[in-house]
Amino acid sequence: MFEPRIICFLCTWCAGAGADLAGTSRLEYTPNGVNIRFMCSGRIDPEHVLWAFGKGADGVLIGGCHPGDCHYMDGNYKTMARVALLSRLLDDFGINRARLRLEWISAAEGAKFASVMNDFTEKLRSLGPMKPATREMAR
Amino acid sequence: MVKVAYYPGCALKDRSSHLDASARDAAERLGFQLDELESWTCCGAVPPVSRERVMNLVASSRILKNTRDSGRDLLVTICDFCYNTLKRTNHRIRKDEITRRRINTYLAQEKPERDYIEETASPWTDYAGEVRVMHLMEYLRDVTGYDEMRKRLSRPLEGLKLAPYYGCVMLRPENEIGLDDPEDPSIIEGFIEALGARVVNYPYRTECCGSYLSVSDPDVSTRLSYKILSSAAGKGADAVILSCPLCFHNLDSRQEAISRVFPGFKPIPVFYFTQLLSLAMGGDRDRQGFSRHHVDVSGVVDSIFAEKERQ
């Protein structure tokens, strides 16, 4: 069975803390993702996402705080704007925009993080691996 | 004239057919027609809609599927039992993937054997809960609108004090029915005011009348009905109004037994909501089947007609 590779960009205060809570609550989810820890989702540069796709990722999950909760006031609003633009860019590259997923996850939503990981892995399995041509475009 | 798909259900076509007649009459006066389904079967009746035995959902699923296949997305019923069963079956089909798949495999076995290709027959697709099930009172409240209804009264029931009786299956379980708040409902209160009558508040409006126990344990039903009726009468109600044929049977036909057992009890007339609606819309008092009532209603009906003459 196709096992998609996922790169997660989680902010420390909310989504990262939510992922940790999924751990302390022993909620099982798919092992396909590796998390790169950021202080804020506002730090994530579209370039990092394209780099991930270029280097073999089948899906990128960006996790930030719910609007209004950001520890740094409005980092997540910037992320929201950047992901919206980036998704259109992915279409131009021929990369299915469903491969980039933005989720707001609070420090209390361990269960939500686990279900997002399971659901995202499932969707990527149905999408199948990325075609080498589009991966080249991302690079 | 707007046509609304209508599922009468067995009781309304037989023992309580007079209630069906009054419903059709009232609807016409309100500008829509209760268009009975061409082919329908028993709804399976409450209560054993248990999870594992998906079989007993098939009866009501077949009705829902026929409604959708005949091109209609709304189905109205006036019996609480049918409403409860149809609504819960629909809810389960929408919510539970496994139930939806198993139901449709059962229904698929009833695909008519056709040796010729029929262009008109719509393609056989699984039923996924597309139809919206509504109680007639819900339709009057949400579609026609109580204010609209109030305006079209030709014989408002001024001065009549009515005690609303909900029973059980019209409201509960609320997460699958979702008609009104089970602890503090207001749909019948709104209906009464829309008829121009006055609402009588009493605490037993959502307590059980004994339902099918009146057949196996009549005394139990007598006791329960007494509590409900004496509380309503005690609060000054002229009559009780309800929308379930079985509650109607219990609260109406039990009153002789109640009077024998509880000497202080004064019989109180019981009306089906369509009867009062039909009268208020100017319906004919002889076509409401009042003769079949155990408790004589002529006193109240006379007061309604008397009201008309004085204006």
Binding site: - | C10, A11, S50, C168, R172, V215, P245
Partner: protein
């Protein structure tokens, strides 16, 4: 006076084993009703709100306790499951969200499967058969036929 057998004592203690408290009867009730009896914390809300409780020898909350401990005989012999009128007050008010009506339903079906015959069509008087609306009869019989 050499008795060969003795009547059982008035109040035998419940013989609990791993099977009674998790497998067998209790599992069957859970499957049939789709509910988890163990989520009941015995608050008693279903009993205090039940309109038929005054007619029952065992209250609904105590029935749930007996199901939790797998006491099949006591449960199936009680009149409670037949007096229950499926009015859903318990289901609506249970703070743990247990559909207690479905549990009672499942118990009736297990009793019927074991051949208990609570109320048959032969016991319906002609007058009742003529006047009681069909949903009343069907749901009563339903206790017989599934």
């Amino acid at each position: 006076m050499s008795k060969t057998s003795l009547p059982p004592p008035e109040n035998l203690p419940m013989r609990l084993t791993r099977d009674t408290v998790s497998e067998g009867f209790k599992k069957r009730v859970a499957e049939l009703s789709g509910q988890n009896p163990d989520s009941c914390y015995q608050c008693g809300n279903c009993s205090s709100g039940c309109p038929l409780a005054c007619e029952m020898n065992i209250l609904p909350s105590r029935m749930m306790r007996l199901v939790q401990l797998g006491q099949e005989e006591t449960v199936l012999e009680s009149g409670t499951i037949w007096i229950c009128a499926s009015c859903f007050q318990c289901t609506v008010r249970c703070p743990r969200g247990i559909d207690i009506q479905s549990v009672m339903d499942a118990l009736r079906q297990i009793a019927l499967d074991l051949g208990t015959d609570h109320f048959g069509p032969d016991q319906v008087t002609p007058e009742q058969a003529a006047t009681v609306p069909q949903p009343g009869l069907v749901s009563l019989y339903r206790k017989l036929s599934t």
